[in-house]
């Protein structure tokens, strides 16, 4: 229904802070570490879900979607069959919407089978306060009734503000609250890395266009 208008150009990679130069930013994970972490998570998912039979991976916009796609590919390699995956935009459910100008929406795309009675694994890059995951759980609520929801995260940096914990963690990264953690992924940012930076730079302005990867799940 919407295929006709989809813009042809891919989302422009957002220049990540410190992506070039990385002044004051320290790479705590490099591409091979990220690859290994995802492989490990994939195996844990298979183990915990007994073969990922009913699993649907839902990546949280933006980088979570990229990670979900990579995880789906890993699972397919192992299991020899495609694992459904999709994307979830939680913008409209965020509790911090009023703190910044309204931002562009990312795409929510569920795989054809939907999520009812499936085991949904939410995938995101960084787990921090837990508020994004809270928003994702709310968003899921409007989309169907999964049998269970699990959470896979590349980096858990601590400082939770809600009673939320991840089922699968790529790396636990102790940080101070003032530090920044930035996940770069080749599909979005031109390379794979996790950067730890000093204090947060001023918040970015409103996103003018959806920066999300618009890949459709299959």
């Amino acid at each position: 229904m919407n295929a006709a208008f989809r813009p042809a150009e891919p989302a422009a990679p957002r220049p990540a802070e410190g992506a070039d130069g990385d002044a004051g930013h320290k790479a705590v994970l490099e591409a091979p570490d990220i690859r290994r972490a995802l492989t490990r998570i994939a195996h844990e998912i298979l183990e915990r879900t007994k073969g990922a039979e009913d699993v649907v991976l839902l990546g949280i916009q933006t980088r979570g979607v990229t990670l979900a796609r990579r995880l789906a590919a890993r699972l397919e390699e192992v299991e020899g069959r495609p694992v459904p995956w999709g994307s979830l935009d939680v913008t409209m459910h965020r509790d911090d919407l009023r703190m910044r100008p309204a931002r562009a929406l990312g795409r929510t795309d569920l795989p054809a089978g939907g999520i009812d009675d499936r085991v949904v694994v939410l995938v995101d890059d960084v787990l921090f306060s837990g508020r994004t995951v809270r928003a994702a759980l709310d968003a899921l609520n409007d989309l169907g009734r999964p049998r269970a929801v699990q959470l896979a995260i590349l980096v858990d940096r601590g400082h939770r503000e809600l009673p939320i914990r991840a089922d699968y963690v790529g790396k636990n990264l102790p940080t101070s609250k003032r530090e920044t953690v930035r996940v770069l992924l080749a599909e979005n940012d031109g390379r794979d890395a996790v950067l730890l930076g000093p204090a947060a730079s001023p918040p970015p302005g409103p996103a003018r266009r959806p920066a999300a990867d618009r890949g459709a799940g299959r």
């Binding site: 229904m1 208008f5 935009d89 409209m92 910044r100 309204a102 931002r103 409007d142 266009r209 959806p210």
Partner: protein
Amino acid sequence: MKRHLISAADLSRDDALLVLDTAEELAQIADRSIKKLPTLRGRTVVNLFYEDSTRTRISFEAAAKRLSADVINFSAKGSSVSKGESLKDTALTLEAMGADAVVIRHGASGAPHRLAGWVRGSVINAGDGTHEHPTQALLDAFTMRRRLGDLEGRKVTIVGDVLHSRVARSNVLLLNTLGADVTLVAPPTLLPVAVDSWPCSVSYDLDAVLPKSDVVMMLRVQRERMNAAYFPTVREYSRRYGLDAERLAKLPEHAIVMHPGPMNRGVEIAAEVADSPRSTITEQVANGVSARMAVLYLLLGGSEPAIGAEVPA
């Protein structure tokens, strides 16, 4: 700070694309069993309608409610306060209610501009006199984009009573912003004298324009215009400027037919054309909710509006 949506000219190209992209995402929600998002919880949207327009009011109401805003419908039509100072008094009342946005429909051109000077919230023009109707233009552009893709270079022909049409004014401005080529077709009496200053072409010959059109938008023509000598008879009008099956056949294969409604079947549009698969008239209604959700979200969803004009254009 951006604040209002009063004219289609309030939207930059980036703004307009942001609204259309957002509407596209929000359109998915219409297909879900739960059509509600929590986004505007705690925000108050007032529908201030000085003219009867059930369709537009319901569209805005549905849009606001799907975003969980509190909606207050204030119909001023027919009440003792319908003219003059009442708009200012009403504005002060809305201020007291803490309206975050006022959606205003008014018979006087410029009424939303006046309102914007009296309230702190965002003013959204839902049609003012013979001036503009920017959300109609947004839903029209949204409909065109869904059917035809990118509007850059697309040829859009708008036919009928341009002089009195707020839909035409907003569409000319928005479509020009989006890179489409607009041609107005009307009897010369129903075009503004200074139409040559508009960013569009003008023709008096519908048949010559149709084969080159990707979109034909038919405007409603009121029979009463005949009495002011804008055209001799309804029959002559529809013969020269109406869209019937024969003319429909002159359109390229992919072209679509639009109408902002309500239609005068048999005057500007033949029934068989209105009901043909090329007609987007029912889609336009559904798309209206998505486009208006996008506008409400972008004006009210964040700490400050992401689109629109600081002061009325």
